[in-house]
Symmetry: C2
Subunit: 246 residues, 2 copies
Amino acid sequence: MTALLSSEELEAALRRIGVERYHNLHPFHRALHGGQLQKFQVQAWALNRYYYQSRIPAKDAYLVARLPDPALRRLWRSRIEDHDGHIQPEGVEQDGGIARWLKLTDGLGLDRDYVISTRGILPGTRHAVDAYVNFVRDRPILEAIASSLTEMFSPTIISERVSGMLRHYDFIGPETLAYFTPRLTQAPKDVEFALAYVKEHARTPEQQEAVLEALRFKCGVLWAQLDALAYAYVSPGHIPPGAWRP
Amino acid sequence: MTALLSSEELEAALRRIGVERYHNLHPFHRALHGGQLQKFQVQAWALNRYYYQSRIPAKDAYLVARLPDPALRRLWRSRIEDHDGHIQPEGVEQDGGIARWLKLTDGLGLDRDYVISTRGILPGTRHAVDAYVNFVRDRPILEAIASSLTEMFSPTIISERVSGMLRHYDFIGPETLAYFTPRLTQAPKDVEFALAYVKEHARTPEQQEAVLEALRFKCGVLWAQLDALAYAYVSPGHIPPGAWRP
């Protein structure tokens, strides 16, 4: 890419990456939403995805540590709060996204200590999630922020997922899916800031290409996690040594 | 694990990990050696595995950078030399493992610039290899050295691989497999030092468990690369967006 894109063209190019690479296109996701998975396969998904959820605050804290001013840090800190929860003025703890994800794994009958230990996750899950955390820790701030923009595409997938899973799986009820409801409002709020930041700060063709590449990388992080799940738990006999066995 | 293992028990525990987790057990490897792959699948393996080869000197240089004395650094530096090659006194360059790997990808008909660009590799390959490099960069030296010990198991797999591939694939000749022959002597030399180091320096049960865990981690790095290949290129329709298409 050599020409400088307008702000609208850059946004369109980002959205095109979502159309081509977001993990709603992955066969495992289609099967998950479409009710084609057995319970142990949904369990494997929730168990592995817990590791992703659990590392999101670390990823965001690395970015907060690198942001240069209080206003930016405050904005980005809200992501950590969304995932880790709050202590209310009355001293009551309010659950965040991680605690709500554990309601999902509880609801699926997985042992909570085992889930939190992450001992049973697939190597591919661990490598992909760690790659994301390291990307945000190590790359320029512009690219780190751009890598969050998969959330541009998440509200659709979340509403599909919730309705599809409730309809198709009798072992899943609304309270088990409590994780997802707040994400429908949190993700757009987060995207609004990140997209504006990227549009403002990607001022050269090279920076714009770096932003697009960061989003491609992140799509790969999400996609590779589903590849690992699909290979291990959809086709029989492919669970790696040491990983969770149903 | 709470009891301190003897040196022999520690070695036996390391070897047991190989028996249970080394990637010679992976269905993709069995298919590769057994002649059950089509040419495009062997190409995909060589293309992706190039990224692993290309990062090995970086992994080893991170360790050299952290080793505390010249004798240790000299020993470990020989691994970088094995992969990157030498400039002989007469000024003639002598190829290393990376150049020999490119003979394999050349022999398979892949474009060399495309291979070196690593643009077409699977996200799962990139995440796994980067996880290994980061592990060696970031973890205690003892664990970084222990993670190299998969080479205890590699001479067997290499000789199986060479003979199996020559026997089964008419598109592969001995010169294409030039990478592997030196590894049959390099790997045992490297293992001798690393194993002795680990036995000497893992002096507490916790250190011994960390050493075993480092080897399990590394087995996961190798295993996950084959998971990604098998999912993308063995079952039809699963090549991730952006990855090489035959």
